[in-house]
Homo-oligomer: 218 residues x 2
DNA sequence: CTCGGATTGTGACTTTGTCACTGTGATTGC
DNA sequence: GCAATCACAGTGACAAAGTCACAATCCGAG
């Protein structure tokens, strides 16, 4: 059994395993585009190493991150659009060097037809993504930016409670403008919740930040 | 062949047709809840008559419509959540009296395994919905409310170019506040684009409204 | 006709987004 | 080392959107 299989433990029947075992692996360097808005692709991709960021971009350059595809997950959107004959409404970009299994459409269809565990895996991913994006719609529509920012800081801080990214990058994550993030971070800093330096954010008062993140809507 | 089949012309192989033909039909009156946020369901539903509106609600009462399930389409979210073991992130409500085919999970799985046309139908719906919701994220994040409102008015006007709904209902559609809609409509009226009366909007200058709807982002 | 609820209007305010800048730290090439 | 350059961050002024509180209508039921 290949290493890859340990990443997809739920795909456990012979046909599903066969499909995974015979899939070719590809690699891509960090910061390369996996798919463009409006394009299409002919394979089902399973990430075995690294992270892919999926986001939409507006004409004026603003962006918002929709979700991330992690190790052991699949890059649904490509195949979805292929099967549904849609153009991509989003863009995919590697955040790290990645490796992925390439499952050709014929094998993908075979898996769906003959491997119930493969089918379950695919539907699970789909459901998860749809829920993620629906939740995002609510978040964007209803939550104040301080709440969304606080949440994001907590989730993406490393084990030392800091983040290495620019205000612009945070603005892209949350689909807002750089100035908005700068102002909000400054406010947090004045409240003593964190320390700012060029390209870095050091979280100090996790309790308080957590409280802001969990402010209920009215 | 039942009438239902004419609504699902792409499901054209024997097994797929069999599944549809033996499905029981249910009906629901207008304005009833099909599923709640946080609940789950055990059947795959195909709408044969009427319209179901899918939306999320914030704690403060604001709502936003995610998409509508029309005749000949499927109520993906229920099954998705069932298969992915997620709770619903949204609520479904009938907008009209509806009739739907109830396909039990066992038949749903059989269709996926044995009917390629059924499988294609399911994936098509999924892809379409995911794209719809992703597009919505961009719309909500990046487009001004006048543009979104103009678009909505054009799409939902009847053949006489009018709409029968309240400002509050429009606010729910677009995920914003009633006052915002009232003010924007008033502005449109002052510009001579439409006429307002209680619960009604009569569009006058379609060309101009269309121009606003297609304002590019900067 | 009157009452009450639903619908719409409005002013004052806060938050968010936009624009046009300025300041500042880091890096690179000489 | 030092200047030039560039990415990053700060800021003030304004526009757009959302919130809040309340007033003004309209309309149907009784």
């Amino acid at each position: 059994m290949k290493v890859a299989n340990t990443l997809f433990p739920t795909i456990n029947d012979p046909i599903g395993q066969d499909i995974i075992n015979k899939a070719k692996s590809v690699s891509l360097p960090a910061n390369s585009t996996v798919f463009y808005q409006g394009a299409s692709c002919e394979n089902y991709l399973l990430i075995t190493k690294g992270i892919v960021k999926v986001f939409t971009r507006a004409i004026n350059g603003r962006e918002i991150v929709l979700y991330r595809v992690l190790e052991g997950q699949s890059c649904t959107l490509t195949t979805t659009c292929l099967l549904a004959n849609n153009d991509y409404p989003a863009e995919g970009e590697t955040e790290t060097d990645i490796e992925a299994l390439v499952i050709p459409l014929s094998d993908f269809n075979r898996g769906l037809a003959e491997s119930s565990s493969f089918r379950a895996f695919v539907f699970n991913t789909y459901g998860k993504r749809l829920c993620d994006v629906i939740t995002l719609v609510g978040d964007v529509s209803f939550n104040r930016i301080d709440i969304r920012l606080a949440k994001h800081l907590l989730i993406h801080a490393n084990q030392h409670n800091n983040l290495s990214l620019t205000h612009q990058a945070l603005a892209f994550e949350l689909g807002t403008a750089r100035e908005v993030i700068s102002r909000q971070l400054k406010t947090f800093e004045k409240q003593g919740l964190l320390c700012l330096s060029r390209g870095k954010i050091q979280l100090n008062n996790l309790t308080e930040i957590n409280e802001i993140a969990n402010t209920p809507l009215i």
